[in-house]
Structures are given as C-alpha cells and as structure tokens.
Symmetry: C2
Subunit: 328 residues, 2 copies
C-alpha cells in the first residue's frame, strides 16, 4: 500500500475515506482533521486558554500534541486515581504524561515538509497534577469500596470524581475550555448505549462542544470525536509518543467494551459505519430531534465547595467524599 500523496510506503489505510498515507502525510492529515473539527464545532480560538485532561493514553497525549503543534495555549491536567493493583496503572500513566512533556516533541519542526508547525509561535505548556489519594485521602478503589458497599465497579465513583476535579480546576484556574481525548469509538459506544434505551436527555446533550451552561461550569470539547481509535493510535506511533497501552483494570469486560465489540463487527462489515452513525446523529440532533428533551436544570452552589450542583445541599462529590470543608 502506497501513500496517496508521495508514493512512500503507507502506514495506514482508511477504508472509510479510501485513503492511504505515509507517516509524515498521515501526521499532517490528522492535525488538519482536528483543526477542522475545532472550527466546525466552534470549540475554541487561539486566544483562549485550554485545559487538556491527560491520562497518559494515546488519545489524550495525541490531542495535547496536536493542540500544541497548532499553537493553542493548551495546558494539561493529570488526575491520579490511585489505581495501582493489579498493575501500576496510575503510576505508569503519570510517568508517560511526564515523559511526553519532558520530550517536547511538539516543538520539533518536521523540516521542509512540516506545514503544521512552521508558522506557529511555540507555547510552553504546564501540567497540573491532582493526586486524589493525596488530596482527598482515599484512592478511587478505596472510596468506591467504602461508599458502594463493595458492590460493582469503581467506574461510577471514578467518573464523578474526575468530572468534578476537572471542571473545578479548569474554572478556578481561569481556563475557557476543558478538552478531553474521547475518540470516535468512545463517542459511538456512548451514543449506542444511549440509543439502545433512547435516553433522550443524554442524546440531547451528546455533542462535540458543550457550552458552559452556568457560572462555574466550563465549556467542554472533544476535538478527536471524529477520529477512529486506530487513527489516534497511529498518530501517536507516527509522532513517537510513548503512551500507556493498558486499559484501566476496572474497565475490562464492562458493557461499554461489549458494545464496542459489536460495533467493531459492524464496522468490519461496513467500513465507515461508526463514523456515519455518529455524524448522522449530529445532523439529526442539529435539526432538532432531541431539542425538547434538553431540560434547563436549576443549579445551586454546593453548601460545602460552592461548585454548581442540582442538589439543594451538598453536591454529589462532597457527599461521596464526606467533604465538610473546602479542600484547596
């Protein structure tokens, strides 16, 4: 397989786009795709400060790399969840993130052929690290065991904690927007799950850009939402980004992964099926299919931490973590 642009050996063949590219041209193409998504979905501008939620995985590190290459003011935030059994998942993730930062690969010009970075003023990124066990006294598996009576996975506690910490830090440090590395496969799995039960409220809110609907909340964006997982992995490899291959040990065998397996069969049978499922959903949503399910909820300030919440007293985070005074 040859690169369509230069006849070099291709590193990827994207059947859904009928496009094969070599490493250099693929890197350029990928960056251009992300820039296009940022503009199309009005995610942010070069004047805004962006906080990227980084996990040490291929998606978030690739996203950070692309934003920095494009000259965006993108800082990172790593949340240490304290998940280190049976594998040192959290420790290894932080290490990968620090390595990415130390290496500074986004500063390197690709030479004559690199049309991405040539006109860009380099930005020096900062990495925020919030270690949950250190700040809140327990790891995610520990708080989950304590609060969920040992039932089920810690994923609910983890999701709640991450959303809280991310939004709070982004808002308090004056970031305009929080960017996450969700790829197309992630978005499609969520969409599939919501569609199977026709959860119209969730469908109404699933979008590449979620505006800050309330004081204290920041805008949320997913610039990789149109890129297949395989595409972000290939980008990371092409760019020499070292990332953590392991999935969170608690995610193995969950329903989301079961749905991903089904969706992969669909994609194999009909290349581009996931992309069209997602894009056609956005079209239908844009045409108002779920507008009437977009409730405007009343938000109050949590009596402990002051963060916006639907609950009248303490927010779900402060309740779960038994926070009785503001932790800074």
């Amino acid at each position: 397989m040859r690169c369509r642009k230069c006849d070099e050996r291709a590193v990827i063949n994207m059947r859904h786009h009928k496009l094969s590219l070599c490493g250099d041209h693929y890197g350029e193409w990928f960056v251009a795709q992300i820039e296009r998504a940022i503009e199309k979905y009005k995610m942010f501008t070069r004047d805004e400060r962006i906080l990227v939620a980084v996990s040490g995985g291929k998606d978030s590190l690739s996203l950070w790399d692309v934003l920095l290459r494009l000259g965006y003011q993108a800082d990172g935030m790593y949340i240490g969840l304290g998940i280190n059994t049976p594998i040192p998942y959290s420790d290894a993730s932080l290490e990968m993130t620090r390595k990415f930062l130390a290496r500074g690969g986004w500063r390197e010009s690709g030479g004559d052929g690199d049309s991405v970075t040539s006109n860009v003023t380099p930005y020096t990124p900062f990495l925020h690290v919030v270690d949950v066990p250190e700040v809140y006294g327990k790891s995610i598996p520990e708080i989950s065991r304590a609060k969920m009576r040992g039932q089920g996975r810690p994923c609910a506690a983890c999701g709640l904690t991450k959303r809280y910490v991310m939004n709070r830090l982004a808002h308090e440090r004056g970031y305009a927007v929080l960017a996450t590395g969700h790829n197309l496969d992630d978005e499609v799995a969520v969409l599939f799950q919501n569609t199977l039960r026709w959860q119209t409220g969730y469908l109404a809110r699933q979008a590449p850009t979620l505006p800050a609907s309330h004081e204290g909340l920041v805008r949320k964006v997913k610039p990789l939402c149109r890129m297949y997982e395989r595409e972000t992995a290939t980008y990371a490899v092409v760019r020499g980004i070292d990332y953590i291959y392991d999935e969170c040990p608690h995610a193995a065998g969950n329903q989301m992964n079961f749905h991903k397996t089904l969706l992969n069969q669909l994609e194999t049978e009909s290349p581009g099926a996931k992309l069209s499922f997602y894009l056609e959903f956005l079209r239908a949503r844009g045409e108002g299919a779920f507008d009437q399910f977009n409730e405007t909820v009343e938000l109050h300030a949590c009596e402990i931490c002051g963060q916006p919440t639907t609950a009248p007293g303490r927010c779900a985070f402060c309740r779960m973590w038994d926070v009785s005074a503001i932790v800074q």
Copy 2:
C-alpha cells in the same frame, strides 16, 4: 422448568419477562398479549374488516390464528411471488397457508381451560390469492432481472410489488386495515438500520399502527410487534400450526440478517435489550422526537392504475411492471 401457572412442564422460558409457561398457558398468554397490543396501539375494532397478509410462515399464520380466535373479521391475502428456485418457496408457502385454512384450528375450543375462544362468535375467513406471475406476467426474480439489469437482489422489486398489491386489494375490497406479521425481531432490525443512519423520516413513520394518511391508502398495523420471533414460533408449535421453515432464498446473507445476528448477541448478553430498544423508541417517538421529520407528502392518483403515488405520472409499480392499462 415449570409453568408458573399450573406447574406443568414449561415449553418456553422468557428471561426478559422472568416467565415460564406450559403450552396451554403460553397460548393463552400470547393471545392476551396481542389483544393488549391491538388495544394499546388502537389498531382496529371487532366492527372492522381486517386483511392479514399471509406468507405461510410462523408469524403471519400465528397472527391470523390469534385474530380469528379473538373473533375479529380477519381474511387473509396470499401473494404468489413465483420464487421457486432453488427451493419451491412460493409453492410451499401457499400450500401451508391453504392447509392452515382447511384445518380450521382456530374454531376448536381448548376445552374448559380455553378462556380465549369460549365467548367468541366464529368468523369464517376468506383467503385472497394474488399470483403475481399469472396477473402481471412475470415472477419477482424475472421482473427484477429485467428491470434491475441483473444487479442485486430482487428484494426491492418484491417489496414494492407486495406493498402495492396488498394496499390495492385491501382498499378495493373495502378492508379497513391491513395487518402484517412483523415480529419484534423484524421491527428491531429495521429500527436498528434506520437508527444507524439516523434516517429521521423513516424513524418518524415506524410505528405499530400507521393511519391511512390519504384516500386510497389503508391503515397498516403490526399486532406482533412486541413479540420475539422465538415467541411467535413457539405459539405456532403450541397451536399445531404447520408453517414454512425456509426463509426466502433471496434473503440469505442480506444486511438485515447481519444486523439480526448483532442484535441477537446483544439480547443474549442482556435479555430484553431488543424489547426495551423498541419500546423506548416508541416512547421517544410518542414524545415527539421525530415529529418534525414527518413530512406530509403530496399524493396524486397514478395515471394508469389510479393508486395514490408521489410521482406525478405513473406510479413506481406501473413503471416497473410497464403497466399500460388497468389490470383487474
């Protein structure tokens, strides 16, 4: 496994309902479910004449049986498609249909235990047979080869022909409603297909009851839409209804069947997943999710046959079949 009602050996275990039943109680339960669907979706009343599209398969024969047991004025219509290679599919289907009618099983009272038929005035059903090769001069495979230049399956030509013939006969013979044997698995496969591409126009029109939107069109209903394929098959077996097991030879390996395989995996992993996908869709649709996509199309009378059509001149049926004078 024992029947929940009488402790006899169960013939079916419905995990999604957490219900096991013996043959007799299953038959009763099945009929009650259909009666409930007929009422819930306002399909028809006992004063209306119903035309059931029968194919000789388990779904349509079970449906006809249930309607007759419930005392509805239900006649049948069999459309001979001339599909007899590589297996005598059409001939065998008609034979099964005639056998069902000759046997008259719906007239038999189930004895003391049969709460279904005891209060019902028996209706003597009539079977309309429309043989396509005889009336229109070509079998479905022949017209498809002639018109589609030998490309693809004859399913499109078949669907168009059946819809036309069914609606026309129902309307001309004064039936209020056309009932088809689509089961839950069928409906879910179509819903899945439409959802994968968010075909909002189709989603807006997918319902258990489609009102007659125009003079010349009859109401269309699907009383089995909430019953799994396995459930209608079990009903046919329990009732001693002999039906054609073969699928149409042209359907093998089509996309719909591929989707059905995926959906079966989902159902195995999570019993009731199909039912909730369908019912929650109906809820969302009922709450107006797709109302704005429900176009009111202008219909004209076809210049040849007079049937309602969107085309200004000849309808799609008359064009495909090169009809130049009305065939009665």
